[in-house]
């Protein structure tokens, strides 16, 4: 149990980084999907929505094949590193953030855009105003993105390898300890995982609800 701290820290680092990258990708992409009309938009939206339910083991398989030593990105030597877990988790959470961003913005009155333009907003000012207006569901999108990766185990196991001191995260450690019959340790890790998930979501919810009037 002495490695609890490094395991927890790595879990947080990896999942936070993956969520932030998902936000960088998902916020603009979801916004573009919500605000523009082009042929194939409905198809892309259904791909994203399917992506929101991607099984982590399938993502793990896909990323493992890419990063495998003989795979197309094998030269990068990323397999069984924390970076590999970040890549896999980003693929898991990006569709969640993208899909929920698009849904959040589509819920706003479409005439609001016209009103903002009519008040002299540039395109970027209009978008920032819409983000501000939809801040509550957007924070929910961020929480869902984080939740989808902090709790997944399949991809982390497959591309990280659960190497002690290197790529072991809370979920993979729980799987290992359960496999060994070390239920007490597994339960302790689980409580820790739940506590962290709660604390992160509590902080985000506090920010979210503070914005509510």
């Amino acid at each position: 149990m002495s490695d609890l701290f490094p395991i927890t820290l790595l879990s947080l680092q990896v999942s936070t980084l993956a969520t932030l990258i998902s936000l960088l990708v998902g916020l603009p992409l979801g916004t573009a999907l919500a605000l523009s009309k082009f042929p194939g938009r409905a198809f892309i939206m259904s791909l994203i929505n399917t992506g929101m339910a991607l099984p982590p083991v399938v993502v793990g398989l896909f990323v493992a094949m890419l990063l495998w030593r003989s795979g197309p990105l094998g030269d990068l030597k990323l397999i069984y590193t924390p970076a590999a877990i970040v890549i896999a988790q980003t693929i898991i959470s990006a569709p969640v953030v993208t899909g929920l961003t698009a849904a959040a913005l589509q819920q706003l009155d479409p005439r609001l855009r016209l009103q903002l333009y009519g008040l002299g907003a540039s395109r970027i000012q209009m978008i920032f105003s819409l983000w501000r207006e939809a801040r509550l569901p957007l924070l929910a999108a961020l929480m869902a993105g984080f939740g989808s990766v902090i709790s997944e185990v399949g991809a982390s196991m497959m591309v990280g390898g659960n190497i002690k001191g290197q790529t072991r995260v809370l979920t993979t450690a729980i799987v290992l300890e359960t496999g060994k019959g070390e239920f007490e340790t597994a339960i302790a890790l689980s409580v820790f995982l739940l506590t962290i998930t709660f604390l992160v979501n509590w902080a985000l919810t506090a920010i979210q609800q503070r914005g509510r009037q």
């Binding site: 016209l114 009103q115 333009y117 009519g118 002299g120 540039s122």
Partner: protein
């Protein structure tokens, strides 16, 4: 007087159908032009085209003698009030200041103007309130204040009173009339309500089936409808 807005040979299509065709229409600086017509007459299309929110297939709209302003420059000289106030989830004063924020107006100047216009429209006491908690009439007053703080050269109003109950509408109409005559803001006011038009406008344009059938002072239009269709719309 000089024309602030001059529309020539304008043609607008929506979903491949011609919905608006105006050979010539001008609005003098300082006047209030009411554009009246039944639903589907093309009033809203004209409104959106004037706000440059819809592209014309043909024709020009000169503003202050030029048609070469880019869209953002143009939009920052006008202001828009829609049927729904569409206020943001923020305080009343932040809502009223939003257009000034877009323009980068210094904070002190913005606060001064917001305070003035919230007061002028009778909603100063609501300044700190969340905009979502206002009544329909209060919201529309904030929406008007949000437009007037910009000191627009052209004010575009699209049925701003339609969603309000009768007593609220009458009071707001009175207040708007006095603000418009005080500030001499050039205004284009879209409405299907002839009483509103007659009360507020210095001139009136009757639109039917995407075309302007008659333009003139309200009294003159009511007294001498240009054709049978206009007379029918006016109920004469």
């Amino acid at each position: 007087m000089t024309a602030l807005i001059e529309i020539r040979d304008l043609l607008v299509r929506r979903e491949k159908q011609t919905v608006l065709e105006i050979e010539h229409l001008s609005v003098e600086a300082g006047e209030v032009l009411a554009v009246v017509g039944p639903n589907g007459a093309g009033k809203s299309t004209l409104f959106l085209t004037l706000a440059r929110l819809l592209k014309a297939a043909r024709g020009t709209i000169h503003f202050d003698g030029t048609s070469s302003l880019n869209t953002l420059e143009y939009r920052r000289r006008i202001a828009l009030v829609l049927q729904e106030p569409l206020l943001m989830d923020a305080s009343v004063k932040d809502n009223a200041a939003i257009g000034l924020k877009f323009r980068g107006t210094p904070k002190a100047e913005a606060e001064r103007r917001v305070a003035h216009w919230l007061g002028r429209l009778g909603v100063a006491h609501l300044a700190e309130r969340p905009a979502r908690k206002l009544s329909g009439g209060e919201s529309q007053r904030v929406s008007l204040a949000r437009a007037f703080v910009l000191q627009p050269e052209l004010l575009l109003l699209d049925e701003p009173f339609t969603a309000l109950d009768a007593p609220t509408r009458i009071r707001l109409l009175e207040d708007l009339k006095s603000v418009l005559s005080e500030t001499a803001t050039t205004t284009i006011f879209i409405t299907h309500d002839l009483q509103e038009a007659a009360k507020l406008a210095t001139r009136m344009a009757v639109m039917l089936n995407g075309r302007v059938h008659q333009v003139g002072e309200p009294r003159e239009v009511f007294a001498h409808p240009a054709d049978a269709q206009v007379a029918e719309f006016l109920g004469i």
